[in-house]
């Protein structure tokens, strides 16, 4: 088989065809700043710098991931709170300095951000990345969740988690408002760039079963995930990058239910944490969707090149023949401070062990 270019490789996977080799989507965000000489803070504070860093990192390494903007604590800034950009030592993502919700009354008074005039908070920067991506034929990746994780930082997190028991109606009201913001975002990006060019990105760590029970997931996370994914289906977007972050093994039945209930023709890219065996992902989603790898990010950070190649090899061998395609990826963001040789390890493993011809 002739060698494909990165867009051809991803295009083949999207079409359900075999590419020349397993694509590599290293889930790079902060790393792109480190490797291109920009501060990590800048790529979150300025969408143009984000695009430049990610585009250049993509060109430098030759992987298949296109530029995207997003971070785990998206939500507070958009609802009128404050975030701190990661300019300090060891900082890797924006963090909340002022939660817009500190009381039940705050939830009642909270106004859902609109996208009619100036875009709210991080979506303004995300829009800059989307615009340049679409102009170059790449998808506009839009963060649209998770509603539960975003709500858990719009409100002060400990309060929010305690309100699940003490104030469940208020929690649902907050979840409703946060999901409405994401609906507004989906509509804006679909209208601006065309739904066929949009790839929503949904996922978050606060639903992890080290924090939340599957019963709580069912009651407080699932309904808003379903609401947003129905919207994605209605709008006609072709694919979703879905990242159930960390250990969400007990939540898998609900993700399966979402898939079945919506009976969506589009494709999910499932990017689970390292805690979820690849075979379990194939068993649950392989008949319709693309399975991503889940190489352990801390291991990428501190283990040797040889070890990372070995971990990638194990991932590839487990997922390569998934019926609807496989993409090599880490189980969460690529460690921002990892040396470049670790990206090379992923690329080398894909070349050596991920070829289909």
């Amino acid at each position: 088989m002739a060698r494909m270019t990165p867009p051809e490789r991803m295009g083949a996977v999207m079409m359900g065809e075999k590419p020349d080799r397993v694509p590599v989507v290293p889930f790079i965000l902060g790393y792109s700043a480190q490797i291109t000489g920009v501060s990590i803070g800048d790529i979150y504070a300025d969408g143009d710098k984000c695009f430049d860093a990610m585009f250049n990192s993509m060109r430098l390494h030759g992987y298949e991931q296109t530029p995207m903007y997003g971070y785990a604590s998206l939500g507070p800034w958009e609802f009128g709170g404050e975030v701190m950009f990661p300019y300090g030592k060891g900082h890797s993502a924006p963090s909340v300095t002022k939660h817009p919700v500190m009381s039940i009354e705050d939830i009642e008074n909270l106004e859902v951000p609109t996208f009619e005039k100036e875009l709210p908070g991080g979506f303004k920067e995300s829009d800059k990345v989307a615009k340049r991506c679409v102009a170059m034929g790449m998808p506009a990746t839009i963060q649209t969740g998770s509603t539960f994780t975003a709500s858990s930082v719009v409100a002060e997190t400990s309060l929010f988690l305690k309100w699940i028991f003490k104030e469940p109606k208020a929690v649902h009201l907050l979840l409703e408002k946060v999901s409405d913001m994401f609906v507004n975002a989906l509509e804006y990006f679909a209208e601006t760039y065309g739904p066929e060019h949009c790839m929503p990105f949904d996922g978050g760590p606060v639903e992890a079963n080290t924090i939340l029970s599957p019963k709580q997931f069912k009651e407080f996370a699932y309904p808003y995930m379903e609401k947003l994914h129905k919207k994605i289906k209605e709008l006609g977007m072709p694919a979703v990058l879905m990242h159930p972050c960390a250990d969400q093994n007990l939540n898998i039945p609900y993700y399966v239910e979402l898939r079945k209930k919506l009976n969506w023709e589009g494709r999910y890219f499932w990017l689970f944490g390292p805690e979820t065996p690849i075979q379990d992902q194939i068993d649950n989603f392989g008949d319709h969707d693309i399975i991503c790898g889940n190489v352990d990010p801390p291991s990428i950070q501190y283990k040797s090149y040889e070890d990372v190649v070995r971990l990638c090899k194990e991932n590839i061998e487990a997922g390569k023949d998934s019926p609807n395609g496989f993409v090599l990826a880490p189980g969460c963001e690529f460690p921002p401070l990892a040396p470049p040789i670790k990206v090379m390890a992923m690329m080398d493993a894909a070349e050596k062990y991920g070829r289909y011809d």
């Binding site: 902060g30 990661p86 300090g88 030592k89 060891g90 900082h91 890797s92 993502a93 963090s95 909340v96 997190t157 400990s158 988690l161 305690k162 699940i164 028991f165 003490k166 760590p205 079963n209 080290t210 924090i211 939340l212 029970s213 709580q216 960390a246 007990l250 990010p297 801390p298 990428i300 950070q301 501190y302 963001e333 460690p335 921002p336 401070l337 990892a338």
Partner: protein, 213 residues
Amino acid sequence: MDKETLFKKLADAVIDGDEDETARLAQEALDTGIDPYDAIMQGCNKGMAEVSDRYEAKEMFVPEILLSADAMYAAIDILRPHLKVDDTVAKPATIIIGVAQGDIHDIGKNLVKMMLDVAGFNIIDVGRDVPVETFVEKAVEHNAKLVAISALMTTSMMNMEPVIEGLKEQHSGAKTIVGGAPISQDFADNIGAAGYGKDAVAAVRIAKKLTEA
């Protein structure tokens, strides 16, 4: 109510996260002359130990634990001022606890702190996004036996090893335990930490082992 019944009810109220009930029972313990130390150990502590077991068994999750912690502290805040000071008993070991530099995620750290507190350690909480030097300075200042560091990011976890190195130079009597989402036993061994707590329950177990050694 006899004291055994009161202890049982106090433990159950901690498990149920009922802070009104724990406060009421704590006051009742004082009013009926029950030793506040016994009420903490036989009531609050037993309740929290059950909460830990249920978390390990995936029967309780963080929202419930946060409510249990509030309920426990509602009782302890009433009981603690009445504890008798006994100079013949050895002082509890001091643990410095904080979140590594670059990280502001402190729910996990706060849970570990609460469990260590209940287990009887003297806890100095240095907060979150803590510079390496602060961990070392506080360990020296308080003659700490243990330094507990949490991290949730692959960037901040890289600031754990410098703390261990700093302690070796300036306060070699202190051992270090590490924990948090990206941390593993392998990583802990790799950076020379004395212990790894995969969760709050394990952290307490390791802390006891290391401070008794």
